[in-house]
């Protein structure tokens, strides 16, 4: 286990050390202490390593992650795991805005709640939120799965493309062109896998599925406000 004191040794040194790890590195376990809400912790990683941040972080923790597992023993600021390509980011606490924004792949697990715009413009990432999510989540979501074990706020899935949204609790309102869809067996299977991988004890059958009605896919003046 490598321990890095962020307060003492600085952000550049941390990211440089983590980014320099190769595919065959033996230094696979890292612990970051004293994060104190710093921004851009463990960004741009591209190796099969596991980083545990002991405390809360600021913006963009785990941004553009590939391959690595990043565990945050605290809460995260805006844009956690933004544009993630692969790997896993697990947040023990809550997440601020834009969690998983534009992510292309990998799994983001938020054990608390996520704020507004969770999964905005997601492009293939899987996001599992054990609590609630805020308004305008999955806005323009293109691909991937967003699982919400609690409730969703206003305008869920506004202008959504092909992402799948699974919500167990209530949805305050659906955004433009987002609609409830049939939960078929293949969706139950996808959801069961995601819940298992996220370590969530919930039944897939308790969720409802939402996605695009595909009425806005081609420009139509009658759809303009």
């Amino acid at each position: 286990m490598q321990t890095y004191d962020l307060e003492a040794d600085g952000l550049r040194g941390l990211n440089a050390a983590l980014q320099s790890q190769s595919q065959t590195t033996n230094e696979t376990a890292w612990e970051v202490i004293n994060p104190r809400g710093s921004h851009a912790i463990a960004v741009g990683l591209d190796a099969p390593i596991e980083v545990t941040v002991k405390g809360s972080t600021g913006y963009y923790c785990g941004g553009m992650n590939a391959q690595a597992t990043v565990n945050v023993h605290g809460s995260v600021g805006p844009g956690v795991a933004e544009n993630m390509m692969s790997g896993t980011v697990v947040v023990e606490g809550d997440a601020s805005q834009y969690a998983g924004a534009t992510g292309h792949g990998g799994l983001l697990v938020i054990k608390g709640n996520a704020s507004s715009r969770c999964g905005i413009s997601m492009k293939g990432i899987d996001i599992v939120v054990q609590g609630n999510i805020g308004h305008m989540s999955a806005f323009m979501a293109q691909a991937g799965n967003l699982v919400v074990c609690g409730d969703a706020g206003d305008a869920l899935g506004d202008s959504i493309y092909e992402a799948r949204l699974f919500v167990r609790g209530s949805v305050k309102s659906l955004g433009a062109d987002c609609t409830e869809k049939e939960m078929r067996p293949e969706h139950i299977a996808i959801l069961a896998d995601l819940l298992e991988r996220a370590g969530v004890d919930a039944k897939p059958e308790e969720f409802r599925r939402y996605g695009s009605a595909r009425t806005l896919y081609n420009f139509d003046i009658d759809n303009a406000y």
Partner: protein, 446 residues
């Protein structure tokens, strides 16, 4: 009473307000119920570089000999924070234009031409193609609100990163790429279904405002090891404040795109009625840099309607470090070439006026994804034409700089210029020709 054909009468009188062009648009709108979408930048007449002239050397100035005496043109961009600033041989760069909006051949040609000329080219919405990276010695990777195709591997392959906040054609607006241009490859790069109309968001998904942008820039620098120059591009609207805030957020380079700057597809009303002319934003941006003590430390690139070495020289004289061209580069490749006139006619337009770039039927094979049309553009030949054009622009800028006694084009200064109109004098803050005065001049009451 019989009509006297020879009797004096009034001629048919067109309204200056309701011109034939306006009336035609009213009829089109009434018939279709949809606003006009087109490519390109503002077509209306606005104060521009043509309204400025160089004073040249005379009794009080010493010129340099035309072809022999040295007049350098190189420019270094990204000296503020980046470990690896980029050095260009000429101060004319190629603006961001997406694969999707343009064919792969056109993107390759832009890379070839820019590399031959010793300058940079820029990706665009939709990500980086191998053809473009392969043919571009210096490639700027745009970081756009849509994040289509964005990934850390390409980010690290780039020579610089341009965070696009806005475009001159549509400050405050997003983009659109209509379904007919969404080929399998374009769809895959953007992670969207083939054939649908794709919207590019008007604001970034994970930051809001300059305080957030400062953190976003930190993240991008951390991901790329603080190597790459980071540009911030804005559409010309509030250039003083936008420049100030971009510098505050940590930009190495500020790019300001005037309303003549082109787009692949936007509403005509947006293009013509939002944003300010290129000429109006340079001095404001330079003033912001000077007030911050950052002029020349943070470089300024200006774009929007740059057509010639004269435009380049005038932009530099007003304080820019470099300029960027988009529409002019497309024309150099072959866009709107009269040799395709018969096909332009079939599309209901004419060479020189064709701007339905969003429809993907470009006879020149540039703003299209149609494989047959795209094949018309030979990227090697088109790249050669672009290189020639860039060389001519550079020679012209050097000619003007030498005439003003400057041994580097970046030594040109406002004092070398005079304005032909009141508007240009006010915007460029150089005296109206034959006077020592311009509107708004400090110490005057006008």
């Amino acid at each position: 009473m019989a009509k006297d054909d020879h009797a004096p009468s009034t001629l048919p009188k067109y309204s200056s307000t309701f011109t034939p062009e306006v009336n035609a648009e009213i009829r089109r709108a009434a018939a279709t119920g949809i606003y006009d979408i087109r490519g390109g930048g503002a077509k209306r007449r606005v104060p521009h570089f043509d309204d400025l002239v160089f004073l040249g050397a005379s009794m009080s100035r010493y010129p340099l000999e035309g072809y022999r005496e040295r007049c350098d043109t190189n420019v270094v961009l990204g000296t503020r924070f980046a470990k690896k600033p980029i050095e260009l041989k000429i101060p004319v760069t190629i603006a961001g234009m997406s694969f999707g909006a343009l064919s792969a051949q056109a993107k390759e040609a832009l890379g070839r031409g820019a590399s031959l000329a010793g300058t940079s080219t820029t990706t665009g919405d939709g990500g980086m193609t191998p053809e473009e990276r392969g043919q571009s010695k210096t490639l700027v990777y745009q970081y756009l609100p849509s994040r289509y195709g964005m990934n850390p591997v390409d980010l690290r392959k780039a020579d610089a990163i341009e965070i696009v906040v806005g475009q001159g054609a549509k400050p405050g607006g997003g983009g659109m790429l209509l379904g007919q241009k969404i080929s399998d490859r374009v769809a895959e790069m953007r992670t969207l279904p083939k054939g649908i109309d794709q919207r590019s968001a008007c604001r970034h998904p994970d930051w809001t405002g300059p305080d957030d942008l400062e953190i976003k820039i930190l993240e991008l620098r951390e991901i790329t090891g603080w190597e790459k120059p980071i540009y911030v591009k804005v559409g010309a609207a509030r250039p003083y404040f936008d420049t100030t805030l971009a510098v505050k957020a940590g930009a190495d380079v500020v790019v300001i795109d005037g309303m003549q700057g082109g787009t692949a597809a936007t509403q005509d009303v947006f293009i013509e009625h939002v944003g300010i002319p290129t000429l109006a934003c340079i001095r404001e941006a330079v003033q912001a840099l000077q007030d911050l003590g950052m002029h020349r430390e943070v470089q300024l690139i200006v774009s929007g309607g740059i057509r010639s070495g004269a435009d380049v020289a005038k932009a530099l004289a007003l304080g820019a470090d470099a300029v960027s061209i988009g529409t002019a580069a497309m024309i150099a490749l072959g866009d709107n070439d009269p040799k395709w006139e018969a096909e332009y006619q079939k599309l209901g337009t004419t060479a020189g006026a064709y701007d339905d770039w969003h429809e993907g039927q470009d006879p020149a094979g540039i703003s299209t994804q149609d494989p047959e049309l795209s094949k018309r553009l030979d990227p090697v030949e088109a790249g050669r034409r672009l290189n020639n054009y860039l060389k001519v622009m550079t020679l012209e800028a050097q000619t003007l700089a030498r005439a003003c006694g400057k041994n580097h084009v970046n030594h040109l200064e406002p004092e070398d210029l005079s304005a032909l109109t009141m508007e240009a004098a006010a915007m460029a803050r150089v005296p109206l020709a034959g006077t020592k005065w311009y509107p708004g001049m400090p110490g005057t009451s006008f």
